[in-house]
Symmetry: C2
Subunit: 216 residues, 2 copies
DNA sequence: CGGAAACTTGAGTTACGTCAACTACCGTGG
DNA sequence: CCACGGTAGTTGACGTAACTCAAGTTTCCG
């Protein structure tokens, strides 16, 4: 893989890593930190599509489609690994195993989007919030491997609202209820998961166990 | 590609092509007809994730993940092309161009799911309905190539409701309003698009122009 | 220490959901 | 031929989850 690596790049919180409409952007993989993908309607309504964590690819779509259909922003301090664009066909020719890993990652992304769609389409506010926090906690645990003591998610309530498709006010009231039930604790700009099992139960969801996961 | 083709298979409307939880299902490509992917919650709430049309792959996820995370059902009469499972690694080794096409299709699916997520999360009922019908019309036009006179979509209002994350009753009232505006006409289990530009305008959306699209 | 960003809270509004009919349109079988 | 049962679509009355507006408080950061 190192043959395709160009450089590493840091990104500060709030930084735009990729913007909708961009043509042929670089291809990145996330080495550390959190980011999120989103789209906005003309009048400013924003929908967060998914979060990117270490091991995820950013910009694959732009290398395959004509232009990027979504934007990506850093949530925390991140470090990215930049790959040479235009080298994707070469990679597919010379590194079939890596190519398969890329497809694996794309299929997993699709699977996550399916879950989110189910959540936003058919779950109510509490279930949605519980699902999102459980989902992010599971991803965070999976990336560090093993279990963390402080299960903290680096989001603001505005991010949660824009992910769940709810208003900020209603999101706040919903999160408050989860906190009253002792499932989470809301910190300054972040959320600490206290009772993961309670979240699973409320959401009616459990994380899939990922086997054979590649890390690019 | 024919080296990996096993057989063709017809599917009748309503037939379950693939069910959630299935392990290592076959990999299909759609030769003709319409189907849809969906997930259901334990209490029966259903969310349609996307529609599958000619040229789409079915079951890639199951060949990459441990088991299928969603179900697929035929909407119309379909013909499917069955590929030999377990041959995916071989294909990636021997047919890099085909492998790239598969990734291309996966990336496009992801792009469509992004759009749906934006729609369900941030658009109101009318905008959502307009978007969905415009989206499906665009896909239908793209698969036949050129322009059809009768732009008919083979759905029931229940399908529309389960795609938009709305109740059946509210979906009906919303579609009625679109019909009153002369944008669509609702037939017996199907919808005819009358004023595609009006739908685009209402949805605030236009179909992307797909270049270099592979057909497997 | 001042200003901005994040979080809270209450009051009033609305879009969408639920319930409960009813009509229309089949295809099937008596 | 008509009775029928099932699916799809339609409509009105009413309930409620979530939205908007508006005003706070708290926390962070320069």
């Amino acid at each position: 893989m190192s043959r395709f690596k160009v450089a590493e790049m840091p990104a500060a919180p709030g930084m735009a890593i990729m913007v909708e409409g961009e043509r042929n952007p670089s291809l990145y993989s996330v080495l550390s930190g959190w980011g999120f993908r989103y789209k906005i309607l003309e009048d400013g309504r924003r929908q967060i599509l998914n979060y990117v964590l270490p091991g995820d690819l950013i910009g694959l779509q732009g290398n395959v489609m004509k232009e990027m259909q979504h934007s990506v922003e850093a949530l925390t301090k991140m470090t990215l690994c930049i790959f040479e664009r235009d080298k994707l066909p070469t990679l597919f020719r010379d590194q079939p195993t890596l190519a398969f890993d890329i497809t694996w990652i794309a299929a997993r992304e699709e699977s996550m989007l399916d879950e989110h769609l189910l959540s936003i389409g058919r779950r109510n506010a509490q279930e949605r919030a519980a699902y999102l926090l459980a989902f992010l906690d599971a991803r965070a645990q999976a990336t560090v491997g093993g279990h963390q003591e402080h299960r903290q998610l680096p989001l603001t309530q505005q991010h949660v609202a824009d992910t769940l498709g709810l208003s900020l006010v209603h999101t706040n009231k919903t999160l408050r209820k989860l906190a009253e039930q002792g499932l989470v604790r809301w910190l300054d700009r972040g959320c600490e998961v206290v009772e993961i099992e309670g979240l699973y139960r409320l959401a009616g969801w459990r994380p899939p166990n990922e086997t054979g996961r590649p890390f690019i």
